[in-house]
Amino acid sequence: MRWINLVLGTVLVAGVILLGLVSLAWTPFDPTLVVPGERLQPPGWPHILGTDAFGIDVFSRIMAGARVVVQVGVVAVGLALLVGVPLGVAAAMSHRWLSDLIMRGADILYAFPALLLAILLAAAVGASTMTAAVAIGVASVPAFARVARAATLQVMSSDYMLAARAAGTSPLAAAVTHVLPNIAAVIWVQASASFGMAILAEAGLSYLGLATPPPAPTWGRMLRDAQNVIFSNPEQALWPGLAIAAAVLGFNLLGDGLRDQLDPRLRDIS
């Protein structure tokens, strides 16, 4: 049972990343090529998932969409990780007033949802893959800061940190040799979960037209296109939705699986 999450998660995540990578070099059809004569074909050969209302091959579009998903996820999670983790560790290791300042800032940002930030940015400077990724990343910073701070506090309260001080290890050296290795596990778990959330947020934004502009294919825009023909062809909404669900599920399961493996306390319970 405990392995199911990890295995299923890894398979789904690997699938999404693979689709995205392969799409850089090859897709069955041009994912942006509009072929009016081949509109709304049912799944079959050569269009294994059929074509959409523009006559574009659905599978090719999904492959290319995976690329955007991975892009946004990497940028957003990377940004959140690089900013949030040092902030959280610093908050835990520093004086109380600085710690309070950092965490209060994180609290305010926490109440400020990613999508609103992306909407603001889109309104102010125009929508693009980058504005979406940055907005999602900034909005994910507090989650990383909180997790890193909580984990660091736990490390700080351990006797081995006291022993390190008694051994003459400086705070910075202790942060590198003791804190980071001991909080890495929870950070990876958080990163995996955040990746899933980033995919959902990106899908929502591109559905609203507030992320990657056309003609680049994204799963969210595919759903928007599908909605236009939902009365005649409701099945059009199926594939991109499944792609999103599979990708998010993959990252969530991977995160859960990692946590189950890494948390010895949970291991004892189950």
Binding site: M1, F112, P113, L116, A122, A124, G204, P234, A237, V248
Partner: protein, 319 residues
């Protein structure tokens, strides 16, 4: 005494948060886009015309003065006017608040009602098929975007079965039955995703109670598993549910924006999206600010309610 102090501190933090948030919203909307007057009039406009417009809109004043005026105006209920149409932003916002409030409020009300029993089942029978089904349902629910759920519900209940309208809105006062039928699918789409997320937390909160020493004590004096769990676990679970629900509020608010777009409900979300499309920044900043204020205020209320629920916090022995 400790409670009064804690509430006072929390209120001070709330005011600080509101100031910071409003400043960020104002800065992003006013500083990032460049010269608004120039944009409105287009590249061909004469510098004199641009200057005149700038003066008329009050854009010639220093940034901080404009910020102060905006905040001051909002405190008295004046959100300013659209640069594009001149319509007061308040006139655009207020008629639409009810729609969004119903959508968000109903979803938030239903979310714990779905998540508590589901999470209980997932925790108590976590080694049996019932628990597996509940956990799997929550995992899947978390992975699907709310707007896709909306599209799927529409394709089944509106198109295939024809039971419910696919979009639009009727005011409650005009036609209560119509109002309800128009809200069922949007609220359901929003609730499914949020409840799935909350279920996960409820599950782990109950699992934690199951491993607590005090639950073992309760079992040792004769409590059966589920009644004991409800008696000694619910209050502890309620604390974490409340926290998570407070954090979910933000997600629900943005979820509602998307859902309004799926079902073309005339709420704040559709107002916001239209304004973004037209780059009507006064409307954008007013609407966003209203949503942010709502989220921050409710989160503060959640924090304060801790004081009432947890005796360790209430008596000030634990912070």
């Amino acid at each position: 005494m400790a409670t009064v102090r804690a509430v006072a501190v929390r209120l001070a933090v709330l005011v600080g948060s509101l100031l910071v948030a409003s400043f960020v919203v104002f800065a992003v909307c006013q500083a990032l886009p460049g010269d608004v007057a120039q944009q409105i009039l287009g590249e061909q406009a004469t510098p004199e015309a641009v200057d005149a417009l700038r003066q008329r809109l009050g854009l010639d004043r220093p940034f901080l003065v404009r910020y102060a005026a905006w905040v001051g105006g909002m405190l008295s209920g004046d959100f300013g006017s659209s640069y594009l149409t001149g319509v007061p932003v308040g006139d655009l916002i207020w008629p639409r608040v009810a729609v969004s409030a119903w959508l968000i409020g109903l979803a938030l009300l239903l979310t714990p009602l779905v998540a508590l029993p589901l999470g209980l089942v997932a925790a108590v029978w976590r080694r049996h098929w019932q628990g597996f089904v509940a956990t799997a349902a929550s995992q899947v629910g978390m992975a699907i975007p709310a707007f896709w759920t909306g599209l799927m519900l529409v394709s089944v209940f509106s198109i295939r079965l024809g039971w419910l309208p696919a979009n639009g809105y009727v005011a409650f006062a005009a036609d209560p039955a119509g109002w309800a039928s128009h809200l069922v699918l949007p609220v359901a789409s929003l609730t499914i995703v949020q409840a799935a997320m909350l279920t996960r937390y409820v599950r782990s909160a109950f699992v934690e109670v199951l491993t607590e020493d005090y639950f073992r004590t309760a079992r040792a004096i004769g409590w059966r598993r589920i009644p004991g769990l409800l008696r000694h676990g619910l209050r502890n679970v309620a604390l974490s549910v409340l926290t998570v629900l407070g954090l979910q509020l933000a997600a629900t608010v943005v979820g509602a924006i998307v859902i309004e777009s799926v079902f073309t409900l005339p709420g704040l979300g559709s107002l916001l999206l239209t304004a973004v499309g037209q780059r009507d920044l006064q409307v954008v900043q007013g609407t966003v600010m209203l949503l942010v204020v709502t989220v921050l205020v409710i989160n503060a209320l959640v924090d304060v309610s801790y004081q009432v629920l947890d005796p360790r916090v209430r008596t000030g022995d634990l912070r």
